[in-house]
């Protein structure tokens, strides 16, 4: 497998090192010459000291025969352009972008980036699991689709307590599929009555989030904000 990594910061450096040690063919592009030389001294002459956004250098790096291009610079706009150039200009089958601003995730997906890795979102998700900020937690995004797995913690005041899924108005494209009760994970049947403290696991597109929030938590985040404002 030939993998082209763009961006020789910490992420790009460790990624390249790991890929090399697992036997892949890797080329790393880093536009800062000093940094590029530093990495080359350590892991060998697989570093191209040029800007991976520039068409000419992508071509020289062999982008047209890459199986994967991973854009891991610190700038979202650079990562977007690297992936789009790879995908549309060099016909690379799989592109991966690092995204810092979680709000850019949807746009990147929409614009054809195959995989989006958002460290900010991951850390946020991890923090929210300990300290629920919104009560509706994002557990995982499902690959290329806009589907995600969500956990809803039913606290006092939730309109879902005492009801079964069939009594709730769940949006069409969503599915409630399990409930975590204490230490047990139970399958969620249409007639399973929900209790306070239950954690309902749902899968659905991001746009249904507000409706799920209204059904399982109570007020939607927008309404809460409106109340505060």
């Amino acid at each position: 497998m030939f993998i082209l990594v763009v961006g020789g910061g910490k992420v790009g450096y460790y990624l390249t090192r790991e890929l090399v040690s697992s036997g892949h063919e890797v080329v790393l592009m880093e536009k800062d010459r000093t940094r590029a030389q530093q990495i080359a001294d350590e892991i060998g002459s697989i570093v191209i000291p040029h800007d991976g956004c520039e068409g000419q250098y992508l071509s020289e790096a062999g982008a047209n025969r890459a199986d994967i291009v991973a854009a891991v610079t610190g700038d979202d706009e650079d990562n977007l352009v690297i992936c789009q150039m790879a995908k549309h200009h060099f016909d690379v089958p799989r592109t991966i972008a690092r995204v810092n601003n979680p709000q850019n995730e949807a746009l990147f997906r929409h614009l054809g980036v195959d995989e989006i890795i958002s460290p900010t979102r991951m850390i946020l998700g991890s923090i929210e699991q300990d300290i629920p900020v919104h009560e509706l937690l994002h557990l995982a995004a499902l690959g290329e689709s806009e589907l995600e797995i969500i956990e809803a913690h039913l606290r006092e005041g939730s309109p879902a307590i005492g009801k079964a899924p069939r009594d709730l108005q769940i949006p069409d494209r969503c599915s409630l599929f399990a409930v975590v009760r204490g230490d047990q994970a139970l399958p969620l049947r249409p007639d399973t009555v929900l209790l306070e403290g239950d954690k309902v696991i749902a899968i659905g597109p991001t746009e249904c989030e507000e409706m799920l929030h209204a059904q399982l938590i109570g007020m939607s985040p927008a309404e809460e904000t409106a109340d505060l404002g």
Binding site: Q56, L80, H110
Partner: protein
């Protein structure tokens, strides 16, 4: 007409002044407020500090419903991203991005964003002055392909770019009117099939 301009450099400020003087609604953004000093004292449009690649910033600035979007910052990638936000999120019918790397300029024109490339423009001006053959006679590369996310707007956004290029309401046939109509066919043959 409502125009949004991202980047208040010399070109951005000049176009903002022209459109404003012609009576259009102009919103210009830059990340540095000092850049707005380039605007003439008579400028009656809106100048806002903010990142033009950020959808929220653009929305707050009033980009919704704009007829024209120009991304003219010094960063090619920033311009490509801002232009795509304009097409994708706001469905702005005429969007032009400044892209100084000729390869990227061509690639993005195939992705449904009109691009203007300073490298090509200057090289051609010099070629023409020296009596050498000019390589990019039309200056602006018109969008020749469908934008990857175009389907979400029923393809209307991307399609409208080439349809309305040079016919911006109220602007009249100015620089780029005929050139843009002719730039499509002048594009390389490789343009077809990329967006499949």
């Amino acid at each position: 007409m409502k125009a949004v301009i991202v980047g208040c450099g010399r070109v951005g400020a000049a176009i903002a002044a022209t459109l404003d003087a012609a009576g259009h609604e102009v919103i210009i953004l830059d990340t540095a407020t000092g850049a707005f000093d380039r605007l003439p004292p008579t400028f009656g449009g809106t100048a806002l500090r903010g990142d033009g690649t950020d959808e929220d910033v653009l929305r707050r600035a009033g980009a919704e419903g704009a007829d024209l979007f120009l991304s003219l910052t010094e960063g090619d990638n920033r311009n490509c991203m801002a232009a795509q936000v304009a097409v994708e999120e706001f469905g702005i019918p005429l969007t032009i991005a400044k892209v100084n790397d000729p390869v990227r300029a061509e690639a993005y024109s195939h992705l449904g964003v009109a691009t203007v490339c300073r490298t090509n423009l200057m090289a051609d001006s010099i070629r023409a002055y020296l009596g050498l053959p000019v390589e990019h006679p039309f200056g602006i590369l018109a969008p020749s392909g469908t934008h990857p996310g175009g389907a979400h707007h029923g393809g209307a956004a991307a399609g409208a770019v080439s349809a309305t290029a040079g016919q911006v309401p109220g602007v009249g046939p100015g620089v780029g009117a005929d050139p843009m109509a002719g730039a499509g066919p002048a594009g390389p043959a490789t343009s077809s099939g990329r967006e499949g």
